[in-house]
């Protein structure tokens, strides 16, 4: 995109940096990205910052057609990851050779640069995943 919004980036930092989710006080369901109301009907959701930072790859793809912010990074490995405990997240898989990945590969969360706003120089960060070295 031509340029990103600073407040839009800033207000989502808890999710981008630390996977802060919401958990229902009534039934315990976890929502990532955060939701305002639980499927059980309860509106009592609390911040939940204890999502595990390790999990396993469910499936992945290597994406070659990317947007303008990602041209220098292409191709991107995009993976659906099941964190320990069962909550899933989609994230870029980094420090990895695609042909060495497979469903079930153990991955861990890392903190990385996501994109740089070319006009204003804003650097945006967020979580990605990398394979756990055996």
């Amino acid at each position: 995109m031509r340029h990103e919004s600073v407040p839009m980036y800033w207000r989502n930092i808890p999710q981008y940096y630390r996977l802060v989710a919401k958990r229902c006080r009534q039934c315990g369901a976890v929502y990532f990205p955060p939701a305002l109301r639980c499927r059980c009907g309860s509106a009592e959701l609390e911040d939940y910052d204890e999502l595990p930072h390790e999990g396993r790859l469910v499936e992945y793809t290597v994406l070659y057609q990317v947007g303008t912010d990602f041209l220098k990074q292409k191709p991107l490995i995009v993976g659906l990851v099941e964190l320990n405990g069962g909550v899933r997240a989609v994230g870029q898989i980094v420090d990895a050779q695609p042909d060495r990945l497979a469903p079930g590969t153990r991955v861990e969360l890392v903190f990385r640069r996501v994109a740089v706003d070319g006009r204003h120089g804003l650097i945006m960060y967020g979580y990605k995943f990398r394979p756990v070295q055996p």
Binding site: Q15, Y31, V62, L63, V66, V78, V90, A115
Partner: protein
């Protein structure tokens, strides 16, 4: 039951229309549809996905009506990403069924070729969750690729089975005067094309095209195919939290409602246009509409038994984003009466218009 009829329609060949502004392109096709219908309209519904992102234009309806000199009537814009067309037809249907209007028009238009191809990726990525998907570089293509991989594995198919979709769509597109790609391709062409998001290749991705389509709808004027029912369903579950990846949830819900309201079953469907913005979505849509059993669409394709997307689908006609659903409505209506297309072997047709990666689906049942 109120009857809503498609009394006039017009399509613009999909393509790269560098020489025209978006409002004029929509006005031209709307003018033709109005001439075809021979009625005056009381309201206009505009389906457009990218008018702000690409053309920096809002209130597009007012500028379209300005070009035609149609004064005073209301104009509404409906945006559901690449599913805007089906949603706008649904809104127009409700406006007629409410009794408020007797005749309205729906015009769909988008001009993705007004920006460069990598900017098109930025524009199309706006149908993703902007904060938690687009931010990280994900696009409809990346998520379709994940779904394709899981679908193929779960149902025991190879990529070659999926590649047959593009071959079939190009075969159909070759016969459609409004299609962007009017040439046949071989399976080897698909298999040797570059990866876009593995396992998906270039031929699995529908080209974004400039397009405009219009339909004039009237209440209780039995002068054309009838819209039997409409239904829209949204999927409120984010991609990462979905329990199944080999199905289109929003479509299944919308299809069940639309079939029930029309009083027909999938066996009655003789013409269908589905949203194959990515090949796997077309396959899943065939199953979601009940035209093949779950996991059975590619087997049906292999047997040669798939009578969907006689237009060539988004793959060959082109993905005109917000205009796509209006193209599909007109194509199905015309197939039922044998106008521009070979006449369908039956009385009922169905449209599937989808926004994003199974975020919202509209299903429209058309009958004679």
């Amino acid at each position: 039951m109120t009857g809503v009829y498609v009394v006039g329609a017009a399509l613009r060949p999909a393509g790269r229309h560098y020489g025209e502004n978006i409002d004029d392109m929509a006005a031209e096709v709307l003018g033709k549809a109005l001439a075809d219908a021979g009625v005056d309209i009381e309201a206009l519904f505009v389906a457009s996905s990218t008018t702000e992102l690409v053309n920096r234009q809002q209130i597009l309806g007012a500028y379209i009506l300005e070009s035609l000199g149609i004064d005073k009537i209301p104009a509404f814009r409906v945006e559901c990403g690449d599913g805007s067309g089906g949603a706008a037809v649904t809104a127009a249907y409700y406006a007629l069924a409410s009794g408020e209007y007797g005749c309205v028009a729906v015009v769909g238009v988008d001009k993705p070729n007004d920006v460069l191809s990598n900017q098109q990726v930025d524009v199309y990525a706006a149908v993703m969750d902007t904060y938690f998907e687009r931010y990280f570089g994900f696009t409809p293509l990346s998520h379709a690729a994940l779904m394709a991989k899981m679908y193929l594995k779960r149902h025991g198919y190879k990529y070659e089975d999926l590649a047959a979709w593009a071959v079939l769509m190009h075969e159909r597109g070759a016969e459609n005067p409004y299609a962007y790609f009017r040439r046949r391709v071989k399976l080897e062409d698909v298999l040797s094309s570059e990866y876009t998001s593995e396992p998906l290749r270039l031929y699995d991705v529908a080209p974004l095209v400039d397009g405009a389509a219009a339909a004039v709808l009237c209440r209780d004027r039995r002068d054309g195919p009838r819209i039997m029912s409409v239904a829209v369903a949204t999927n409120a579950v984010p991609f990462n939290m979905r329990s199944e990846y080999d199905t289109l949830y929003s479509l299944r819900e919308a299809a069940a409602r639309a079939y029930k309201a029309a009083g027909i079953s999938p066996r009655d469907v003789a013409a269908a246009e589905v949203h194959d913005s990515l090949s796997i979505f077309g396959v899943l849509a065939v199953e979601g509409l009940g035209l093949a059993e779950r996991g059975g669409a590619l087997a049906a394709l292999k047997r040669g038994g798939l009578r969907v997307n006689m237009s060539g689908g988004l793959k060959a006609r082109g993905n005109a984003l917000g205009a796509t659903g209006v193209y599909q409505l007109v194509e199905v209506a015309w197939q039922l009466v044998g106008r521009e297309f070979k006449r369908a072997d039956g009385r009922y047709g169905v449209v599937h218009s989808m926004g994003g990666v199974d975020r919202t689906s509209a299903v429209i049942v058309v009958g004679l």
